[in-house]
Symmetry: C2
Subunit: 287 residues, 2 copies
């Protein structure tokens, strides 16, 4: 095909995909091409703007490394992550809602016993979490693998701190026979997502703030149940209604109860204020 | 805003762009978000597919370096480049048509005198080009800057060859007072675009061939005229109707005339076959 113009190009590309042997890939790519072309026609994208887009995507890819995923951050801030999570988790009313995965999970976090301190020395006021993992009918889920990660009191995940040689603010626990889980961490605070890369450039250019309300991340896996990827947000946070990545769900807001110095849930004597969170997770059956 | 679902997310993101002080950026990003979301909803993108997309874009960005632009190649193979070029060059019938820029241009190519050999030792049968640069009313365009680049007889641009320490197959010339331009290069051949990166993975997965019909690239700049970025394709090439990047225009097909050994246009005696191309470029006035 020759002499393709801005109107005939879409059919030409779709035709080129006609030999694709994978029907799902063909469906996805065909839809992507149609929407990409519609976008470029709709705004009458100029060549200089196209080149700026090429440079932007290139810089986004090059900002990624083993500890940083700028494309996930871009997807999060453009609302794509929340859209994908929402349309794949139409659950029963009882099950705990999912929210965005985010760019800060690290596989292979330390496995700690119940009651362990996941802070790893991270700065912050102590937080004592007591949670249950149950199925939809109330049955306890024993031996569920619970991956927990959080930022410290300065708003940084360990992977954002240069020179750390051990994990901070992340651990993997297993529930006991009653589906219970308890551990120590630090009180999460609101923090800005990283703004030193292309996503920060976009937020700045569009007049958007980079803040996320305080939260702790959970990923809970157990045989016979759907994996749950979620957060527990902190009640009263000023950014609950303007989360930079659109992830807040009312059902995921927890009461991080403040206590003055004194005896803590783990029996220790705390010399300063500490916080206690109770939360019940409900898993959806698999399949 | 809380409890956003896959249907309400689009309005939530657009609302977040309401403070954007740059109206054009706001227009482009709003359209992009709408189409990106429509795409994800239309195919009901799963979380695993989303992650595959994140990984694909990351790999594409990381394949780019000073000599390789994988996002341009992706744009080319998805037809976006041709669309953008076409919608920005609705020219008068007389002007030479534009086509895709491609990923292989390098700024700062050697400046050669008219008659110079741009091959730099690249393998290939000699090609003698004799061209004119004129305005729409036939006036010669003197002192136009003509950037020329091409692959060698094995289908490689110099930037694709490791260990080369000088440019091959690229040069910048200036037209003479009559708008004429002549130089020596090598006969272009059809070649596959690079398939060792994410774009190759996409072509392979969709059953598409990677071939481009033989061509020489030209970028012509002169004060008072629109910059022309184009190719001259080689008549008879088997890929003229299935260019992997959708760039062929009938008006850009040239006659690369084959000659047996003997005297060449530059007065030299050629011991083997050589080729001669004449082509007339017509520039559109600026503004």
């Amino acid at each position: 095909m020759r002499n393709i113009n801005e109107h005939t190009i879409t059919a030409a590309v779709l035709d080129r995909l006609s030999d694709c042997g994978d029907p799902r890939l063909k469906e996805i790519l065909s839809s992507l091409v149609r929407h990409l072309h519609d976008f470029a026609r709709e705004v009458k994208l100029t060549e200089a703007e196209w080149m700026a887009g090429i440079d932007y995507l290139t810089a986004t890819g090059q900002k990624c490394d083993g500890k940083r995923q700028e494309f996930i951050l871009l997807s999060d801030t453009l609302g794509l992550s929340t859209l994908v999570v929402a349309q794949n988790h139409a659950k029963s009313a009882q099950a705990t809602e999912a929210t965005v995965f985010g760019p800060f999970h690290v596989p292979g976090a330390p496995r700690l016993p119940l009651g362990g301190d996941m802070s790893g020395g991270a700065v912050g006021e102590p937080l004592f979490v007591d949670a249950t993992v149950r199925g939809r009918d109330g049955e306890p889920v024993a031996d569920a693998e619970v991956d927990v990660w959080e930022a410290d009191a300065e708003g940084f995940y360990d992977v954002q701190r240069a020179g750390l040689d051990a994990p901070q603010g992340r651990a993997v626990f297993r529930t006991d026979a009653q589906g219970r889980l308890w551990f120590r961490g630090v009180l999460p605070v609101a923090y800005p997502i990283p703004t030193d890369g292309p996503v920060g450039t976009m937020l700045n250019a569009t007049g958007r703030h980079p803040w996320r309300p305080a939260h702790v991340h959970f990923m809970i896996r157990a045989p016979g149940y759907q994996t749950l990827i979620t957060h527990v947000f902190r009640d009263g946070d000023p950014y609950l209604d303007s989360d930079a990545v659109f992830g807040v769900r009312s059902s995921l807001i927890g009461d991080y109860e403040r206590h003055e110095a004194g005896p803590a849930p783990d029996g220790s004597a705390q010399a300063g204020p500490f916080h206690a969170l109770s939360f019940g997770f409900v898993l959806e059956p698999a399949g």
